[in-house]
C-alpha cells in the first residue's frame, strides 16, 4: 500500500505476510450446514405463514365440513401413489392433492378440515409448478386440508 504521509515498507511487508497467512482461513464447514438447515426451516415457516394469511377469511366457513371432509379424504393414505409424483395423492377424478406434510402426519390428524379459498397463482411457483407470467397476478381456487390448529396438510388447485 502506498501512503504518501506514512510510508513504511517494513510495515507493508509485515501486513502483507499477515494477509498471506490468513488467505486460507475459511469459516468451519459446520456453519454452512447449520445455515442451510435453518434456511430450509425458515422457508417452510414463511410459506405456511403466507398460506395462513390467505386462508384466514375462509377458515371460518370451513368448520362445518370438518369431519365429513376427513371421511372423504381418508382413503388418501391408502391410495396408490405409484402413478403420481411421490408427494401427490389422488382421491377423485380432479387434480391430485399435493401433500404438504408426510402421509403419516396427515393420517394422524384427528380433526382435519377441508377449506376452499382463492390463492395467488404465484403460489404455484413456490411448489415448483410452472406459472404463466401473463396470469401470474391473478388468483385461483384451491382446496386445502388443514389441521385443527390451522396448519396446512395438503392442497390442490381447482381450475
Amino acid at each position: 500500500m502506498n501512503h504518501a504521509d506514512i510510508e513504511n515498507p517494513q510495515l507493508d511487508r509485515q501486513l502483507g505476510q499477515l494477509r498471506e497467512e490468513l488467505e486460507h482461513q475459511q469459516t468451519p464447514a459446520r456453519v454452512e450446514a447449520t445455515l442451510l438447515q435453518a434456511f430450509a426451516r425458515h422457508q417452510r415457516k414463511s410459506w405456511f405463514g403466507r398460506v395462513g394469511l390467505w386462508l384466514a377469511p375462509a377458515a371460518g366457513l370451513a368448520a362445518s365440513v370438518g369431519m365429513a371432509a376427513w371421511i372423504t379424504l381418508a382413503p388418501m393414505t391408502n391410495a396408490p401413489i405409484g402413478t403420481d409424483p411421490p408427494n401427490t395423492v389422488a382421491i377423485d377424478d380432479q387434480s391430485p392433492f399435493l401433500a404438504l406434510q408426510s402421509l403419516e402426519r396427515i393420517a394422524a390428524e384427528r380433526e382435519p378440515r377441508l377449506i376452499e379459498t382463492a390463492v395467488p397463482r404465484t403460489m404455484l411457483a413456490s411448489l415448483g409448478i410452472p406459472v404463466d407470467p401473463e396470469v401470474a397476478g391473478e388468483s385461483m381456487r384451491a382446496q386445502m386440508l388443514v389441521s385443527a390448529e390451522g396448519q396446512p396438510l395438503a392442497m390442490r388447485f381447482l381450475q
Partner: protein, 200 residues
Amino acid sequence: MTLIDPALDLDLMRKMRAGDADAFTALYRRHQGPVYRFALLRSGSPDVAADVVQEIFLGLFTDKYPFDPNRGALSSFLFGVARNLLLKRDEREHRYVAIPDQDDDDALAPVDPNPEPAAILFARRETEAVHGALRQIAPHYRDVLILYELHDLSYVEIAAVCGIDIGTVRSRLSRARARMADLLQDFRPPNAARQLEATP
C-alpha cells in the same frame, strides 16, 4: 477495491428471498471468507468469528439485518454488521470503553489490559507479532486498518462500514499504521537475532 460483482449479489439476493437455497449457498460461499477473516482478526478467536458469520447470514435471510442495495454493496453491508456484532460483544464483556467522539492519542491506547490470548496459529513468528500488535490497538482504529490493508476496501467503503467520514478514515488509518510501526519496532525476526548474536 473489492472484486465482488454487485449485480450478481443482487440477483442471488432476489433468488434467495424467493426461497432458492442454491442462491443462498452461492451468496454464502462468495462472502463467508472475507467476513470470517475480518472477524477472526478483530476478535482473535476462531469460535467467535464462526459465530459472527453464522449470525450475519441467519440475519440476512430472516431480514433481521435487512440489506438495502441503495446504501452500498453487500460486501460492505456484511462487514458493517460483523463490526457491530463484535463491538456489541466487546461492550457486553466490558472489554473496551465507548468509542470517543474525537480521535486523539489517548483513544489510540489499548483499553483492555488483559486481552484474550489469540487462538490463531501463524507459520511465522513475525506474523504472530504483527497480529499481536494489531490486537493492542483500540477497535475503531483496528477496524479501519484491517479493512484497508487486509481487505482492500476503499476509503469510501470503510466510511460506510464504520459510519464515519472519509477524513476520519484517513486519520485513523494513518494513526493506526504509526502505532503499529511503534509496537513492531523492537521486533527482530529469529534469523536476524541469531545473526546479531553470532556477530563478534
